[in-house]
């Protein structure tokens, strides 16, 4: 009976009223998070904007088909649509093909120190990963997908997903370290 349990469903009901004002308000509320999500996949602003736009069109047009499954489910559903749109766009741009072709970086640090990094910095660092690595990393770590699910989404095998993730992780650790070293030297 806590209001938190109902906030999103009330919101959903309002959205179903198809009132432009309501949609705009909701857009203003959720778009920064979703744009950030889109950016994590697309890297560049233009593609990320494009993805966000097509995602919202999908979200709005299929709102009536969405089934509410508890607080947070609307947000999760919207995020899922953004991720799917981003993956489709990456595929369309041919940016997922290079998955297997990246060099392995073996000497990377195991556990870098990320506590001191801001979310802005993390976002920036993630964007330095090659597309293929970044996508697998995003799906596995941020979207909590299993390698089986990732394999299905990207049309690769589970073992490929696992090895891609392993490499992505190492590379990320190295990038973080380099970033911190660079920052220390400038200080």
């Amino acid at each position: 009976m806590h209001r938190e349990n109902y906030t999103e469903e009330i919101l959903l009901r309002s959205l179903l009223g198809r009132e432009p004002k309501v949609w705009k308000q909701w857009y203003a509320e959720v778009s920064p998070k979703l744009f950030s999500l889109s950016l994590r996949y697309m890297k560049d602003q233009d593609s990320a904007s494009e993805v966000l736009q097509s995602s919202f069109l999908k979200i709005f047009s299929s709102l009536s088909q969405f089934t509410f499954r508890g607080e947070g489910s609307l947000r999760a559903w919207a995020s899922r649509i953004v991720v799917n749109e981003a993956l489709a766009e990456l595929k369309r741009q041919g940016r997922l093909i290079s998955l297997e072709q990246n060099e392995i970086l073996e000497e990377a640090e195991e556990s870098p120190e990320v506590e001191t990094l801001s979310s802005e910095e993390i976002q920036e660092i993630l964007s330095k990963l090659p597309d293929g690595y970044r996508v697998v990393f995003n799906l596995y770590v941020l979207e909590s997908k299993s390698h089986k699910e990732i394999a299905g989404l990207l049309g690769i095998t589970q073992s490929t997903s696992a090895s891609q993730f392993h490499r992505a992780k190492k590379m990320l650790a190295q990038i973080i370290k380099e970033y911190q070293n660079a920052n220390e030297s400038t200080l």
């Binding site: 806590h2 009223g17 950016l39 994590r40 993390i122 770590v141």
Partner: protein, 430 residues
């Protein structure tokens, strides 16, 4: 399974947000319109509401003038009994046209206007409190089939109490407005009004100017809404603590809807006329206006209902051109503008859960915008005492957007027909 640093990355990234380019919403809006994702836009926020055909306005103005002229020329013909609204009610052949006293009655519908702040209060309601406005166009245009009278004159109820004229007008629904099921004219407690009249007689400088816009507006939407116009601002959720949730919980699996009704503004004021060259005169004064709106969201059993009351103080400035001048009556045309300032307002929200009041929350309206309007029309003037004239002027008014988030009748229908009446002091020495 995952290393700690990865979890930290996830946490940080989840908190990250990035504003999308501003033009993105506009592009999205265009696409949504193109894809007709907003089919209801035209139906619901009736754009047509914003354009009142001039022909209608002109005919209304004409009818108003003729009716008034008839009354003013034959003041003796008025049956004293008609001063009693109740009798007027009985005389009405159509129940939908009834003039009913509001005092002590009708409160169930919540249609009685809170008159605490108004001295001489009257209310014209073009609809029974929650007229069920049909959303489909078929019934929208079926005005003629309902029991709405077919002539405008019949729908115009006039109550005249001497020495001060109190005008009550229920004009026919403009074609731009949704149909009203039971147009009602309420006449509220005339005692205060009479007192005002006496005071006005003693001191002509304090003459009330009474005005009524033609017809309030009513809207019905599916889903929940709040008075801010937003769906359900999280702020409201926080303010109301559990009440919103309770209403919501009680309405699970039920169709909910929101009904908004804006009542016609009530205007009180003083008028001053400064003669210019020839037939021209400059008119100004001070107006007090009260805007009342009500919103109910939910179901009949469980809902929240917000009563919004906004007070405005305004200064009108207009130029009058005298068309005819007679011993008993003069006519004129005018054009001008008015600047109103919202001086205070409140929103009182009552939460009802399963027919029982759960919580009442009253908040002050902090936004105090200026409201600018332009008006033009014709008027008639009747000399009362020395250079004090009683006037009635039907006008078309256009209200500019006040850029506030306040939901008012001015915003719902910026262009509307109004009728103002009151006292005007002329500085003309003649």
């Amino acid at each position: 399974m995952k290393e700690k640093w990865l979890d930290q990355i996830r946490e940080k990234v989840e908190n990250h947000s990035s504003e999308p380019p501003k033009e993105l919403w506009e592009e999205l809006e265009q696409s949504l319109l193109r894809d007709s994702e907003w089919p209801v836009t035209s139906d619901r926020k009736p754009k047509r509401n914003r354009r009142v055909p001039l022909l209608w306005a002109a005919s209304l103005a004409g009818i108003g003038l003729v009716t008034l002229a008839v009354y003013f020329f034959r003041p003796d013909a008025i049956d004293p009994a008609q001063k009693s609204p109740t009798i007027a009610n009985h005389q009405s052949s159509r129940p939908s046209n009834a003039i009913t006293p509001v005092t002590g009655e009708d409160s169930k519908e919540g249609s009685a206007l809170d008159t605490g702040n108004t001295r001489s209060s009257l209310e014209v309601e073009s609809t029974s409190a929650m007229a069920n406005i049909s959303k489909d166009k078929a019934s929208f245009w079926s005005v003629g089939e309902t029991n709405v009278p077919d002539t405008s004159l019949e729908r115009m109820a006039l109550v005249f109490t001497r020495p001060l004229g109190v005008l009550l007008v229920s004009s026919p629904p403009l074609p731009s407005l949704p149909p009203v099921k039971e147009p009602k004219v309420h006449y509220i407690a005339s005692t205060q009004g009479d007192r005002t009249a006496h005071e006005a007689k003693k001191n002509w400088a304090i003459g009330p100017v009474l005005g009524q816009s033609s017809g309030g507006t009513d809207f019905q939407y599916p889903g929940y809404y709040s008075m801010s116009g937003a769906a359900l601002p999280s702020v409201a959720l926080l303010e109301a603590e559990g009440a919103y949730s309770q209403v919501f919980a009680a309405n699970l699996d039920r169709e909910v809807e929101t009904r908004v009704s804006h009542k016609m503004p009530i205007n009180l004021g003083l008028g001053l006329s400064i003669p210019l060259e020839g037939r021209w005169s400059l008119n100004t004064g001070l107006t007090y206006s009260q805007l009342n709106s009500r919103l109910q969201s939910g179901t009949k059993e469980s809902h929240w209902q917000t009563q919004q009351k906004l007070n405005y103080v305004g200064v009108p400035v207009q130029v009058n051109y005298q068309v005819t001048k007679g011993k008993k009556v003069s006519t004129y045309a005018f054009a001008g503008a008015e600047v109103k300032k919202m001086v205070g307002g409140s929103q009182s929200t009552e939460y009802t859960v399963n027919k029982e009041s759960a919580q009442v929350k009253k908040v002050k309206v902090n936004e105090k915008p200026f409201q600018v309007s332009t008006r033009a029309g014709v008027g008639i003037e009747v000399p009362l005492y020395k250079n004090v004239n009683f006037f009635i002027e039907p006008a078309m008014e256009y209200h500019l957007d006040d850029k506030s988030s306040l939901q008012t009748i001015y915003k719902e229908s910026p262009t509307n027909f109004t009728l103002k009446g009151g006292l005007r002091i002329s500085l003309d020495s003649k």
